[in-house]
Structure formats: C-alpha cells, structure tokens
C-alpha cells in the first residue's frame, strides 16, 4: 500500500501528541513494508505556524519527508481575533468559520504537490483536524482522503468546516471509542467508514536509578509529561499538589517534564525538567511513583500508555472521557474530579506501594494487549480496505 501522511509539523524533535503519532505511525507502516511519504511544512511551533525549517526532501526512519514553505498570514489581527472567538466558544457564523479556514497558514507548494502526486497513492492520511492547512489539503487530494482528527472537546471541533471535513472525507481514523462517541453524539457526524484504530506504543526500556542519579531526585515524585500549559490543565495539577503538600507535608515532589508557559510552577517541591527525550524521558516514567494526566482534552494520551509500559500507575481527570475509559478498562490507575479525590489518590498510591505496583502491572498488560503495533496496524489495514474500496466506488461514480 502507498500512503501519504499529511501533517503541518513533522520531525523527531517536534513536540505534540498528534505530530508524534503521525510520525511513529508512518515509520511503523514503512517498517511493515508499506510505502509512506510525509507531506509537511517547515513549522515547528504548535501555536504559530511559520517557516522554521528549510523546505526540501529528506528520508527520516524509512519515511520520505517533503517539507513545503508556508505563506504568511495576511491580516494577523483579525485572524487572531477570529481564532480566539472560535477557541473560546464565542458564537461565530458559518461564514466567519470558513473565513478562519481561508485566513490561516497555507502552503500552495504542498497543495500543488498533492494535486499532481496524490493519484499515485492508495490513500492519504491527514492529521490533525484544527489546522486550516489540513482542510485545504483535503480539498486538493485526489486519492481517498482519510481524516485522522485526534478530536478534543474544544471550540474548533464544533465549527462547520470541521464537521464538513469529517463528514465528506473517504474515512475517519479514530484513536478510541470515546472519541467516536464524541464525534457522533456531540458533533453529530455519523460516518459510515469511521474506524477506531488506536495507536501503537513503543516498549519502554527504563532505568529508574539512572534518572535519579542524573537529575539528583531521590524523593518519591508525581510525574507530569507534556506541554506545561493551562489548556492541558497543568495549573489544576500544580494547585492541587501545593494544597496537598500543606495538608500532608513530606518528601513527595511534583516533576514537570515538558515545555510551555502560563503555569506558576514556583514551589520548592515542584521540579521542572524541561523537554526530555529518549532514555531520560523513559527513565523518568520508571522512577515516578505515579504519573498524573490532568488534561481533559485527550483523544488518546500517549503518556499514560508510556507510564504503564514502565509499570507505573496513572491518575487521570474524571472529565476526560478518553483517559477515564483507559483507566476503567485496564484498572491501571485512579480517577480524580476534586481536590479531595486527588489528595486521597496521592495518599493511596504513595502509601500502598503494593497496590501501586499491581495497578502499574495491569496497565502494562492492557497496553501490551490493545496497543502493540501489530494489533494496531492490522486494524489499520482492515480499515484501509474499506476506505480504498469506498474511494474506488466514489471515483467510478464521478
């Protein structure tokens, strides 16, 4: 099978769940014998797409990656105001929503390439949904265009361009059952060829002692891994942790691994490590007492899977249907909604190490069973038969 992966940001050092998923998925497809080409831009920053990397072609871990330049956004002030209204859920007209798609960061080079080259692919996988570039790229693709949206309960998702993108695509690839329920119940998009494929999680080879030695952290700690930003609810985690330390003084630390702004992390027991990759990141999972994922906007959550790979239990927010779904199915952690739940969970998992170990082991088994690459790619290949078949039928009809 020949697959085009279309995503605004691509590379080993690009931070972001969807971007990591796009890259690793492509690499594993290539390893399985499929031909995978990535169409991307030179952007590296999530919030502000601009040409940080040069345009050109390279091969990264078996995937041919072609980067295209981006045009600058025309009227930045009105674009940002419109974006803000959509993100905040201020009512916008359908006309304004499509105007936002038109005014975003676009790449004519990429669109021309997709128009001329996409007929040579069996399908194109476009990920993720909030970028205007993905909407235009879908309109330029001349093979079955499958949207891998990574949906969240956020302002963008409820716009008509997004509903149109999902409903008019050849297929939709979803990460979890709750994401499918969200698409159908909240967005009212019922796609006959929407398939829950999931995502494969790489085995973690971790060394807790190496992490403790390198970073000089001997005390037990709660780990957070990801963007340190308010939209990820990290402010709630830090706030609850500070209150917990007042109520239950002790050696417990909160270690924040990742980059971001807007969260007040100033506290003697809160340690920020910055963005970590490779062995250091994996070792951090193994050294942690538990991993807390406070975000209520996840379509999969790679970090809780990575934590379970290291046999460490997780603590997730009750308002996130996806992470709650994983925890309830695996019994690999606890769920919190209030400060009282949070504090009780920390007490339980720090005091009862046997229970914590058992939860971590159940999480590891869940990941091994449900989210190994063989299982996930086999699901994708079955879904692709449906998508490609549908694309051929559509092509014949036109």
């Amino acid at each position: 099978m020949k697959v085009a992966v279309v995503t605004p940001r691509y590379g080993e050092h690009i931070l972001g769940g969807a971007e990591t998923m796009a890259r690793r998925f492509g690499e594993e497809l290539a390893r399985r014998g499929h031909v995978v080409h990535a169409y991307t831009t030179g952007a590296t920053n999530h919030g502000d797409l601009r040409n940080d990397l040069p345009a050109g072609v390279a091969t990264i871990n078996g995937v041919r990656v072609e980067r295209f330049g981006l045009l600058p956004i025309g009227n930045r002030l009105s674009h940002d105001a419109l974006l803000q209204r959509i993100l905040w859920g201020v009512r916008t007209t359908v006309h304004e929503q499509f105007a936002w798609i038109g005014a975003g960061a676009h790449s004519p080079g990429m669109y021309a390439a997709l128009e001329s080259q996409s007929p040579h692919y069996d399908l194109a996988l476009l990920i993720p949904y909030p970028f205007p570039l993905i909407h235009y790229a879908a309109a330029c693709t001349r093979c079955p265009a499958v949207i891998w949206p990574c949906l969240h309960d956020e302002g963008y998702a409820y716009t008509e361009p997004v509903r149109m993108l999902l409903a008019t695509s050849a297929g939709v690839q979803l990460n979890s059952l709750p994401e499918r329920e969200f698409m159908e119940q909240r967005l009212r998009v019922h796609h006959p060829r929407a398939h829950v494929v999931g995502y494969g999680v790489d085995p973690v080879r971790a060394d807790a002692a190496a992490f403790r030695a390198k970073f000089g952290i001997a005390d037990p700690f709660v780990l957070y891994s990801g963007r340190i930003e308010v939209p990820k609810n990290v402010n709630v985690l830090v706030d609850f942790f500070k209150r917990h330390k007042i109520d239950h003084p002790g050696p417990l630390k909160l270690v924040l691994m990742g980059a971001g702004t807007g969260v007040d992390t100033d506290h003697p027991d809160v340690i920020t490590l910055g963005f970590q990759t490779g062995a250091d990141k994996q070792n951090a999972y193994a050294a942690a007492t538990l991993l807390c994922q406070p975000s209520i906007n996840e379509s999969f959550s790679i970090v809780i899977m990575e934590s379970w790979q290291a046999e460490v239990p997780v603590l997730v927010h009750a308002q996130c249907a996806v992470t709650r779904h994983h925890v309830e199915r695996s019994n690999g952690g606890l769920i919190f909604a209030t400060y009282a739940d949070f504090s009780q969970a920390l007490r339980t998992l720090t005091v009862n190490s046997e229970l914590a170990r058992a939860m971590g082991a159940r999480g590891r088994d869940y990941v091994a069973r449900e989210y190994n690459w063989n299982t996930v790619l086999a699901k994708f290949e079955r879904a692709a038969e449906d998508w490609i078949g549908a694309g051929m039928i559509a092509a014949r009809a036109t």
Binding site: R50, N51, G89, V90, R91, P108, G109, A112, E160, M164
Partner: protein, 187 residues
C-alpha cells in the same frame, strides 16, 4: 526560471531570509502546472467555496453553529413538562450565552490622513487598540468560562428536575392505584 517559480521565490524569500534558510518550496510542483502561488490559492479557495456551498444547504448561515464545547448537554423538554416558561428561558440562555463580540473594529479617524504625522497617529491608535483588545479579551474569556459553567449547572439541574418530576408523577399514580384498590377491598 519560470514566472511562477520567481513569484514563489519572492513570496517565500522574505520569510526564508528572516528565518535564515534557503527557499526551495515545492518549486518543481509549481513549475509542473505553471501556476503561481496566488493562482493555486485562488483555485483551492474556489474548490473550498464549492464544498462549503454544497455543505451549507442545510444550514442557517445567519445563525451559525451552536457554541457547545465544555457545556453540559441541553436537556430536551419532555412532552408533558408542566413548566414551558422554564424551558423557554433555558433554550434562550443556551442560545445566547456565547453571543459576545470581540471583533477588532477600529473606527476611521480623519487625522490619520494628515501627511507624515497621520501615519504616526495611525500607528499609535493601532497599538492602543491592540492593548485595549488584550484587556477586553481577558475579561471576555473569564466571562465566557463563568457563563459556560452556569449554563452547565442550569442544564444539569433542569434535567434532574424533569427526572424527579416524572418519578413523582409515577409515584402519585401508583399511590392513587393503591388507594383505589384499598377502597374497593374495604366494606
């Protein structure tokens, strides 16, 4: 070099020179079609407009879509609900709570047309306007968050109220049935 490629280099060149990288953006693809970046964007935008037109046939353009994210589900009014007024207000508050406006509208000022000084004045006005927007947006965001929570609370309470109302009605019917049965049994 073809015209399209030259134009592309000109457009990209500015950005690339700022970012310190060399321009090579997909020139071969543009060269193949002979279209300029503007022509490509016009073509794709036209295609998007066609899709939008087809998609929008079932939508009310003026109303826009409901801003529902993060809000507890709006409960449907039961057929036998005794409180139509409550449901009317609930419908309205769900429809209106996100109707806030923060469009960057900067009124015309004749003074900006004065030679030399006008440009400086326009720049000062623009910066002051952006500063005002920053503070207004902060307040708007907070108000929206509060609105979203309040509407969620009212939606949840109404759903619960309707559930309890239906349950009470059922219990009353059961009680009345038992009373009737008792009356029939008693001499």
């Amino acid at each position: 070099m073809m015209h399209a490629q030259r134009e592309l280099m000109a457009v990209m060149g500015k950005q690339y020179s700022e970012s310190g990288v060399s321009p090579q953006d997909g020139a071969e693809h543009l060269g193949a079609t002979g279209d300029s970046p503007n022509e490509i964007m016009t073509r794709v935008a036209a295609r998007m407009a066609e899709r939008q037109a087809a998609w929008s046939t079932t939508l009310d353009e003026a109303q826009g879509s409901a801003a529902q994210f993060g809000v507890a589900e709006f409960p449907a009014q039961p057929k036998d609900s005794g409180n139509a007024e409550l449901h009317r207000h609930l419908r309205e508050v769900n429809a209106e709570f996100a109707d806030l406006h923060n469009e960057p509208i900067l009124a015309e000022s004749p003074a900006t047309r004065v030679p030399v000084l006008g440009k400086i004045w326009a720049s000062v006005r623009q910066h002051a306007h952006e500063l005002v927007l920053f503070y207004v947006n902060r307040g708007t965001f907070h108000q929206l968050s509060v609105n979203r929570r309040l509407v969620s609370v009212v939606n949840l309470l109404t759903a619960q109220l309707e559930e309890q109302r239906a349950e009470i009605a059922q219990l009353r019917r059961d009680l009345a049935r038992h009373d009737d049965a008792d009356k029939r049994r008693s001499p």
